[in-house]
Amino acid sequence: MDYLIAFLTGGAICALAQIIYDNTKLTPAHIVVGFTVAGALLGGLGLYQRFAEFAGAGAIIPVSGFGNSIVMGMLSEVERLGWEGLFTGAFENTGLGVTAAIIFGSLMAVLFRPKG
């Protein structure tokens, strides 16, 4: 059941992005940034977490989940440290993913050439 929900919710987010892409002149970069920001803002309002409890990976795998993870890190660090948390929290949860992107991205660049 959780697989079906992840498929449907994640698919719906992507289909929404596609509809925006096909009906505007925006580049994919603009849309992806927009979804990240939307995830962060909804996360700050506590709404994204509630959505994620229902949707599971359908909420955390789209970049909006990545934006939400940034906010979740900041909020938990603020609770622990006070204002310093605003500055240390961004990579609390996302650091793993960002580092993975750098490590694996570099590895791929060493191993493979673009094929075009």
């Binding site: 892409y21 002149k25 994919p28 673009p114 094929k115 075009g116």
Partner: protein, 334 residues
């Protein structure tokens, strides 16, 4: 008698000959509609090089060498090399010129470079400033993507109006004497800007310039579409050629089946390349591959060959500037 006709057209009294020409392209172009007109098809678009820039340069050099060999000339017999390409600071042409050792005149007209080159080369030969001039141009899909757009492995879904840069090169030797098709006139175009801002709509950005140059050519020379067997445009592609035909019709000329766009015809529909081909090599293969070969076989006698260029850079579009277009034309006669 003045060599100039009307506002923008030049008539070449000595009508320089295309003494030889050579085209080279990658596997995708080979599978396309012009595959049989391309002299040398390579299986590896990277030419065994580490970077696409080096591969493009190598294709250009090979095309130049082949054209010289066919004309039975050495580098010393050729007085000028007129070349241009799409890469920043036209490095493909410059480095090719370094390897050839022929006095070099670098030009930039984006994808219109081949016709700009043929026109300027003809001026030099017609003016008796040289016996032979080498004209060449090149483009490369991967090199253009990374310079004008995105990394090639990036998750981009291409829009239907997008065009695919042709990987290849073409070279021609223009000579005062000999056989081969003649270049009898050239119409150099104005830069027109109709406010198209999206680099996804390059064909639309170039169509007004193409229509303008064509109409100027007709006005200057008093000719009509009926005087030509074929009116060729470079890389307007599916969207641009539709607009071009519309604009020309509004100006009072009906092209009908006389018109062919190389970009729109370059690939087969099954090859999934959006609106068609683009790049310097696109128009160059159309003219030096298709037109010249058909002429030598006697299937075409008078062709108006045009090539269009989109004048912009990634910096200018990101700063919100619109994309300007240019088009040049030459008359080639068997």
């Amino acid at each position: 008698m003045s060599k100039r006709l009307g506002l923008q057209t030049i008539v070449f009294q000595q009508a320089p000959r295309i003494a030889s020409c050579s085209t080279i392209a990658g596997p995708k172009e080979g599978e396309g509609n012009f595959g049989s007109y391309i002299d040398k098809l390579v299986d590896d678009p990277m030419m065994g090089q580490l970077t696409p820039e080096k591969a493009e340069r190598m294709m250009l050099y090979l095309a130049c060498q082949d054209a010289l060999a066919k004309a039975a000339l050495t580098e010393d017999d050729v007085h000028f090399f007129v070349g241009g390409d799409l890469l920043n600071q036209i490095i493909s042409s410059s480095y090719c010129a370094r390897d050839l050792g022929i006095p070099f005149l670098g030009i930039y007209g984006a994808c219109s470079s081949i016709v700009e080159g043929l026109g300027l080369g003809s001026l030099i030969v017609d003016g008796d400033y040289a016996d032979s001039v080498l004209v060449a141009t090149s483009s490369h899909y991967q090199a253009s993507e990374r310079q004008f757009r995105y990394p090639v492995e990036l998750n981009i879904q291409h829009r239907k109006s997008n065009q695919w840069t042709v990987t290849g090169a073409a070279a021609a030797v223009l000579s005062k004497s000999g056989t081969g098709p003649k270049i009898t006139a050239a119409t150099f175009g104005r830069v027109l800007d109709y406010g198209i801002k999206s680099p996804n709509d390059m064909g639309a950005a170039m169509a007004p310039a193409a229509a303008d140059t064509l109409c100027r050519h007709f006005a200057d020379t008093g000719k009509t579409p009926g005087d030509y067997d074929l009116i060729l445009t470079g890389d307007l592609a599916a969207v641009g050629q539709k607009l071009f035909v519309q604009l020309v019709k509004e100006a009072g000329y009906t092209l009908g089946s006389k018109h062919m766009d190389v970009g729109a015809s370059m690939y087969k529909p099954t090859q999934q390349v959006g609106a068609g081909g683009s790049g310097c090599a696109c128009s160059a293969i159309g003219i030096l591959g298709y037109v010249v070969k058909e002429m030598l076989q006697g299937n075409l006698r008078r062709v108006l060959a045009m090539a269009t260029g989109a004048l912009f850079s990634p910096v200018s579009t990101q700063q919100g500037d619109s994309i300007a277009g240019i088009a040049h034309a030459v008359v080639i006669e068997a």
